[in-house]
């Protein structure tokens, strides 16, 4: 039994099965909280805790999936290419909205952590959470946060977007599909983009674009915001 749960292949198969179960559950229930990524993370996380399996064993078994994140990010150029004609008249609104969004994301993260009694280190760790994970890790190190914890917060922000992003945008009456996509990609990077692609091709394409631009803009603006607020 111990051999079986510590064998890397077990966890690759378990991840694929948990994903299938998540997809099935979403099809069955149509509940937006039943996002496959969330269902699988909860099931696999519980399994690792109950079976007392080290996260390193899990990471080793699933390395092939981690590797595929690179080419999948590149592949986001394809939906973008198909929707590129919709960029006409939207480049300026998108750029202004994303600059504003980066300032709000970084500024509110720092101020709220301090307001709620968190340490300055936690504020610096929270600041880059809206960017895609590799950028968040690098920026966190640059501004004096804890990179590994920034990655965790970043992924959680992504899952929030996959689960609740479209619902919140409905409540705010943001209906224009390009604006919805840019909003989701701007705060929930690739994980939000995965949901946006499933919702609507225009939303998905602009979410992928927004993820890239947000990474770039946050890299440029975060030292300024941190210097102003901390």
């Amino acid at each position: 039994m111990r051999w079986f749960v510590e064998q890397p292949l077990t966890w690759l198969v378990a991840t694929l099965l948990a994903y299938r179960l998540g997809v099935w559950l979403l099809d069955r229930t149509r509940l937006s909280v039943a996002q496959p990524v969330l269902v699988a993370v909860v099931l696999l996380g519980a399994a690792l805790l109950v079976l007392d399996v080290d996260i390193a064993t899990y990471a080793e078994g699933t390395a092939v999936l981690t590797f595929l994140l690179g080419p999948a990010t590149v592949a986001l150029a394809v939906p973008l290419h198909r929707q590129l004609h919709r960029l006409r008249g939207f480049a300026l609104p998108m750029t202004v909205a994303l600059v504003l969004g980066v300032l709000v994301s970084v500024g509110s993260a720092i101020l709220l952590v301090q307001l709620l009694g968190g340490s300055e280190e936690l504020a610096r760790t929270m600041a880059p959470k809206a960017t895609t994970t590799p950028v968040s890790l690098a920026l966190s190190a640059e501004i004096g946060g804890i990179p590994a914890l920034s990655a965790v917060l970043t992924i959680t922000a992504g899952i929030l977007g996959a689960v609740a992003g479209p619902w919140v945008l409905d409540r705010l009456r943001v209906r224009e599909p390009r604006s919805r996509g840019v909003a989701i990609g701007g705060v929930s990077h690739g994980i939000g983009t995965a949901r946006a692609l499933a919702e609507d091709p225009v939303e998905g394409a602009f979410s992928g674009l927004s993820m890239g631009l947000t990474a770039l803009l946050t890299s440029l603006l975060i030292p300024l915001v941190v210097a102003l607020l901390l």
Partner: protein, 124 residues
């Protein structure tokens, strides 16, 4: 076979992107630059049925699968989060929501404003 050809395109663009990131020291991941490289290739080739399209159409519907592994990593940090949960959870959720609202509402309002300005300019 088309998907394998397409995967070669994707990985090739990623390699170019990683190299650009490494050489320039740009604070953007190589894969994101690879997305820009592939977009440039698609714009130059002016076709919408390349093998890269086939590979993207095979992969992207399952993008959520690829984020399960980093998500499970969150479990390892349960104790750190539990120790400081109030500022972490509340600040994360609230700041995420504020960012989403800021981008979504401003993008939509600016789009409407530019459309009105462009169509209104001719009528007036």
């Amino acid at each position: 076979m088309r998907v394998v050809h397409g995967l070669t395109w994707l990985l090739g663009c990623q390699l170019v992107g990683e190299t650009l990131a490494h050489v320039s020291g740009a604070p953007v991941p190589g894969a994101v630059l690879g997305m820009v490289v592939l977009l440039t290739v698609l714009l130059v080739r002016r076709r919408d049925d390349t093998s890269a399209h086939a590979a993207a159409d095979a992969m992207l519907p399952h993008l959520q699968l690829l984020f399960i592994v980093p998500g499970v990593g969150v479990v390892a940090y349960g104790s750190v989060i539990a120790a400081d949960w109030l500022p972490i959870v509340v600040a994360l959720v609230a700041s995420w929501g504020l960012g989403l609202a800021a981008v979504g509402l401003s993008a939509q309002a600016l789009t409407r404003w530019t459309q009105r300005r462009d169509s209104g300019g001719g009528a007036a």
